[in-house]
């Protein structure tokens, strides 16, 4: 299939210029190096690192993972090396890559995010993703001094407050990753946009539970975990579509993307870029296959740029 000259996959996601709109989702691509022998990382639009916290985190007890119909549930609990080791041992490898590097960060309290953003502000990275939606760690709303035990991203007011505080700590492009575990995504999305987010990523995982009926315990050691994979794709596409209608900043579509068709669904729904998460485990080639597939789709449909189909949904 010949690719027409001038076809362009380049996108600008809140100030991050990527050569194509295909990214890897936080937590599924480690710190990049792990997959470097299996795929040519330089071809990716961007890498989002595993979420980094101030101190190293041990993460949750095992089992941390279970397969479900067309999905998986994980509860890693943000096991990561901490910002110090990350900067010293992981970032140098990432910097050498010819792809955009986005560092995902999280904390138990708002101050943690602010501090991490401040530390990263001086580093040669392309953007920061605020993971305010991980269902597998404590903290969140309660830690913000409010009632309720939800995630930051389950409360519009708290999400906005967090984003505006982080906004003051860095000039780097700021992506805010939202939770799908909400009644109304559009209010939350509009709130973080107003607070200064340059882009919105969604979805993070859906809180889920599997029970072992023999020992009558949850299979995931922590009780619940987060569901990802093809099972959630139709939910994620709907959420992205609703979010796109509510904000002007670019939206990164995530959730069960396994091939070009899936990526196109998100883009047509309005996503400016897409991230592959669980799909990486199934076939590490998926992001590169999607990049090729998108090029072909553009040629076949005589389009000159991916922007032409972004949000092209007829409804």
């Amino acid at each position: 299939m010949g690719v027409k000259k001038g076809n362009s996959l380049a996108v600008n996601i809140g100030g991050i210029r990527m050569k194509n709109p295909v990214m890897t989702a936080s937590g599924t691509f480690g710190y990049g190096a792990e997959y470097s022998r299996l795929i040519d990382i330089n071809k990716l639009g961007a890498i989002v690192t595993k979420t980094i916290t101030i101190k190293p985190r041990q993460g949750n007890p095992v089992p941390r993972l279970v397969e479900t119909p067309s999905g998986i549930i994980n509860s890693i609990g943000l096991q990561n090396v901490g910002i110090e080791v990350f900067l010293r041992e992981k970032l140098p490898f990432l910097r050498k890559l010819k792809t955009r590097v986005i560092v995902s960060i999280a904390g138990n309290r708002m101050e943690d995010y602010v501090k991490l953003a401040g530390i990263l502000d001086g580093e040669k990275i392309d953007g920061i993703e605020l993971n305010i939606s991980c269902p597998n760690v404590k903290g969140g709303i309660k830690s913000a001094g409010r009632t309720g035990a939800g995630l930051f991203a389950q409360d519009a007011g708290i999400s906005s407050e967090l984003v505006s505080r982080v906004r003051r700590a860095t000039v780097l492009p700021l992506i805010v990753k939202l939770s799908p575990n909400v009644t109304d995504i559009s209010g939350i999305a509009a709130g973080v946009e107003a607070a200064g987010a340059d882009a919105i990523a969604l979805v993070n995982t859906f809180r889920a539970m599997v029970i072992n009926v023999d020992n009558r315990r949850p299979v995931i050691a922590g009780g619940t975990g987060g569901l990802s994979g093809p099972a959630i794709r139709p939910l994620a596409v709907r959420l992205v579509w609703e979010t796109v209608k509510a904000v002007k900043v670019p939206v990164i579509g995530i959730g069960g993307i396994m091939n070009t068709n899936d990526a196109l669904e998100f883009i047509i729904a309005g996503a400016g870029a897409v991230s592959v998460g669980t799909g990486i485990f199934v076939d590490p080639q998926i992001p590169l296959k999607i990049i090729r597939g998108l090029k072909e789709y553009l040629s076949e449909n005589r389009l000159t740029g991916i922007g032409e189909i972004k949000g092209a949904l007829k409804i």
């Binding site: 937590g27 599924t28 691509f29 480690g30 792990e34 997959y35 022998r37 299996l38 595993k50 190293p56 041990q58 993460g59 095992v62 089992p63 941390r64 993972l65 279970v66 397969e67 119909p69 067309s70 999905g71 998986i72 994980n74 890693i76 096991q79 994979g229 093809p230 099972a231 396994m258 669980t278 990486i280 485990f281 199934v282 076939d283 590490p284 080639q285």
Partner: protein, 268 residues
């Protein structure tokens, strides 16, 4: 580590619910060690999503043939058992660290439970090739129907002992009891290797420690990526010097293992 298409050469049921599958991995171009594993995509159907990790049971670099030995326990292994000659499998191989061979010509004891015997057989073959002459294999299973690899071990020149829970073959009782019964006669330089269910590994590691034998254990954990990226497959290990004030360190079975030194692991 490489992702390749491997053509199935054969896939047959060697006894009820145990299968041996051989595949052509000519493209691998890499050394393969006993104790390493491969990660197989068993179906395109999203109902079984993750790859399935299986130990390497046999590998012949010359012919490019790699074999696995597996038991059907769920959807994934059942889908695998339906693969036929000529079908192509998407595999990532070889993965993990593999067993470390003993430094000198020490006696070796292999303790395998269930399908754990598969990777130990590959080790026995390697040891035989490297000139180790005193290798003993202890194989344990519920009953005689579940004993696998016995002939394989014999062919490598091992001395083989069997244990069955129900006494239908060999020693009656769990394999760890058989192991415990022979250890007192072993030289202190004996190297112990074990693969199988976690309680068995824990027990073999404990007995080895007591008798000051070096013991390597091959662990299994639920895996997603298989390459060390996702942190799903961790095991609690003793903190190394320099790992701060933590009581333990989670290490990745897929990347830092699956083989660990017995005393490293925190058994729970």
């Amino acid at each position: 580590m490489k992702q390749i298409k491997a053509k199935v050469i054969s896939n047959r049921e060697i006894k009820p619910s145990y299968f041996k599958m051989a595949m052509n991995v000519a493209g691998l171009e890499e050394e393969v060690k006993a104790g390493q594993f491969i990660n197989i995509r068993v179906t395109e159907c999203s109902g079984v999503l993750l790859r399935k990790p299986l130990s390497i049971y046999r590998y012949c670099r010359k012919s490019g043939s790699l074999e696995v030995l597996y038991r059907t326990v769920g959807r994934g292994t059942e889908a695998l058992s339906r693969k036929r000659r000529g079908e192509e499998l998407d595999i990532i191989a070889p993965l993990g660290n593999g067993y470390e061979l003993p430094a000198g010509p020490e006696p070796v004891v292999l303790v395998g439970g269930g399908t754990g015997a598969a990777s130990l057989y590959f080790l026995a073959e390697t040891l035989a090739g490297a000139g180790f002459s005193d290798v003993r294999a202890l194989i344990g299973a519920r009953d005689k129907e579940n004993i696998i690899c016995e002939k394989d071990f014999l062919k490598t020149g091992c001395k083989v002992r069997i244990a069955t829970d129900d006494g239908s073959r060999g020693f009656r009782g769990v394999i760890t009891e058989l192991f415990r019964s022979i250890v007192p006669g072993m030289k202190p330089s004996t190297a112990v290797y074990t693969c199988g269910p976690k309680p068995m590994l824990s027990s073999v590691a404990g007995i080895s420690k007591k008798f000051k034998l070096r013991c390597q254990v091959s662990l299994e954990e639920y895996m997603a990526c298989g390459v060390g990226a996702c942190m799903s497959c961790v095991v609690k290990t003793k903190k190394q010097s320099g790992s701060g004030g933590k009581q333990f360190v989670y290490r990745r079975v897929c990347k830092d293992g699956p083989v660990f030194d017995g005393p490293e692991v925190i058994w729970e």
